[in-house]
């Protein structure tokens, strides 16, 4: 009896160990591209192009980082990425929450039609309206400008819908009491609803920032001046179809591109993952 029991326990332990080992292997393989970015960024050129290839640098250098700042206007690109992704996030949170507030909390004629229109526009892929959006931004004289980059995304149907759902779920006692006390809608919005909506705002903020920081197509078509590109669009300038690819410099640039999001992720890990789970329910 005991031998059967202990044998079963042994089998379970072996299964567990095998499971763990398999997952470890999978995880390492999945992390390989990120590991290679980090290590290659610090490798001397000779080692980057050496055969057989290595994983960990034999010698460490910062040459690739100095070169990315001379090959591209990289400091400017970093600034542009922050202005673009940060600007879009800031405006979208502001405009979306204002609209979501009245859609969730104030009864007015046409609110349902408006909500349906907003939900319908969720289904329109950005790529499908790219040409007229580009033309409009061009007609406004906003090519190669922050305004042009940010304005088309300064509000977003998903954000409005997402926040409206959150606002609907907030208890109404407080704002009704404030209304009876004569508080204005703006005041109720600012000092009662918004402070209670911080988790939703953080979630939406992460989602918006990450999407725009990583976006390629929009900065690519909107900025013809290299000084106005983002890190993501700027790095593509390093690759020539037939040129030799400067992998070391590219990985240094890639590391800088992913560092802010990696830091944001490690600091706000739970929120970050929740943000994906919540926005995935889109």
């Amino acid at each position: 009896m005991t031998t059967v029991h202990s044998r079963r326990r042994l089998t379970a332990a072996i299964t567990r160990a095998l499971f763990f080992a398999a997952m470890l292997l999978v995880a390492l393989l999945i992390l390989l591209p990120i590991v290679i970015i980090v290590f290659t960024a610090f490798k001397p050129v000779a080692e980057v192009n050496a055969f057989p290839p290595t994983l960990v640098p034999g010698a460490w250098t910062l040459d690739n980082f100095t070169r990315i700042f001379t090959d591209l206007p990289f400091a400017r690109l970093i600034l542009n990425s922050f202005v673009f992704a940060g600007g879009v996030t800031l405006f979208a949170l502001m405009f979306d929450s204002l609209a979501a507030y009245v859609l969730a909390r104030v009864d007015f004629r046409g609110s349902r039609v408006l909500l349906i229109a907003i939900i319908a526009s969720l289904m329109v892929p950005f790529q499908a309206t790219l040409i007229p959006v580009y033309q409009l931004v061009a007609d406004l004289g906003w090519i190669n400008s922050y305004t042009g980059l940010i304005a088309p995304r300064a509000a977003d149907a998903f954000g409005i819908f997402f926040l409206r759902q959150f606002f609907l779920a907030l208890p109404r006692d407080l704002d009704n009491a404030a209304r009876i006390d004569g508080a204005s809608e703006l005041r109720i919005f600012r000092s009662i609803v918004l402070p209670n909506a911080v988790p939703a705002l953080v979630t939406l903020g992460i989602y918006t920032f990450v999407n725009n920081w990583n976006d390629l197509l929009w900065p690519l078509v909107l900025t013809t001046d290299q000084q106005m590109g983002t890190i993501t669009s700027g790095l593509t300038m390093l690759t020539g179809p037939n040129g030799i690819i400067p992998y070391g410099v590219m990985m240094a640039g890639s590391l800088i591109a992913l560092a802010p999001l990696a830091i944001l992720f490690l600091v706000l890990q739970r929120r970050f993952i929740q943000s994906v789970a919540a926005t995935g329910l889109k």
Binding site: T15, L31, Q127, L136, A154, N214, I245, A257, L258
Partner: protein
């Protein structure tokens, strides 16, 4: 995605001299003020462009001169031009490879992450989530280096295992699987987390009941996990398909649609027609085909979500 109507807000009783008419006017103004910024952006950059793209798609607009009305000529070209049909075929091929692969990988890893038998689950979850924060562009660079036929670490390792992959990005048969692989790597964490949220919503009591009935792990998976994860899976399948239809970034960077147009997708073609060849009318027609395809998929998604909510009670 509940479409519940707003609960009726009854305005507080007006005190003092303010008449009901004045109150209503004021409330209307407030509503407009709150909506104005967001609606301006949406009307200018989403709703109006939808109309504009439709109008453009029936013209020969090129960015110069006055566009001439050409009827359905652009749409005829979309469905007859061999290059465009090729691009649609490539997008279909990309989707057929991407969607099942990413969904299966995400589901398996979500189940593994949810398993109590896995030590250090939190660490694994963090590690497996990391590709999500990497842009497709940066992912493309890293994979390009790993797979480089001369200096790539992965191609070297595979070579040691006796597998010669050659220059995958220059190989018409392998370029497409490669760009798909990169997208799978970048996107699976997103679907994995959605699955994980779905798995965690399954009440443990159901598993215990199944265990009482003598169901082994496999039977429990089949009789509890699979049916209860059906809606999540359907939902993930649709959003993955929509994402696949928009394939662009890594292809633009790595192959430019080549070799021999083997990775030329619909969005690559919209970019080329619209911004390189300046055939704005034609590119708009192609955009509309993409829009309608996405719309149909979204409607399926709505149906799935609605069914899920009904099932949930």
């Amino acid at each position: 995605m509940a479409l519940s109507t707003t609960r009726r807000f009854r305005p507080p009783p007006q005190i003092g001299g303010r008449g009901p008419l004045q109150g209503r006017m004021k409330r209307r103004l407030i509503v407009i003020a709150f909506l104005l910024p967001a609606m301006t952006v949406l009307v200018a950059f989403v709703f109006w462009p939808m109309v504009a793209a439709l109008r453009l798609s029936f013209t020969d607009a090129s960015g110069f001169g006055t566009p001439e009305w050409v009827g359905i000529e652009n749409y005829v070209k979309v469905f007859t031009d061999s290059n465009i049909l090729r691009a649609m075929g490539n997008t279909a091929l990309y989707t057929i490879m991407f969607t099942p692969l990413v969904v299966v990988l995400a589901l398996l890893l979500a189940l593994a992450l949810n398993s109590p038998a896995l030590p250090l689950r939190g660490v694994f979850r963090t590690a497996l989530f990391l590709p999500f924060i990497v842009s497709l562009a940066v992912a493309a660079f890293a994979w390009q280096y790993l797979l480089d036929p001369q200096v790539g670490l992965l191609s070297f390792w595979l070579q040691n295992l006796g597998i010669r992959i050659g220059d995958v990005l220059q190989d018409p048969a392998l370029a497409m699987p490669t760009v798909v692989l990169i997208a799978v790597w970048k996107n699976f964490p997103f679907y994995m987390i959605v699955f994980l949220a779905g798995v965690q919503e399954i009440p443990q009591s159901l598993y215990e009941a199944a265990r009482m009935d003598g169901a082994g792990p496999l039977a429990r998976f089949r009789s509890v996990t699979v049916p209860l994860l059906g809606n999540t899976t359907g939902f993930v399948l649709v959003i993955a398909t929509i994402a696949a239809l928009q394939a662009f970034d890594q292809i633009y960077i790595l192959t430019g649609g080549g070799p021999y147009q083997s990775t030329q997708t619909v969005v690559m073609q919209i970019y080329k027609s619209g911004f390189k060849d300046l055939e704005l009318g034609f590119a708009s027609a192609l955009s509309y085909v993409l829009l309608v395809a996405t719309l149909l998929l979204s409607l399926i998604q709505f149906a799935i979500t609605a069914r899920g909510e009904k099932d949930a009670g």
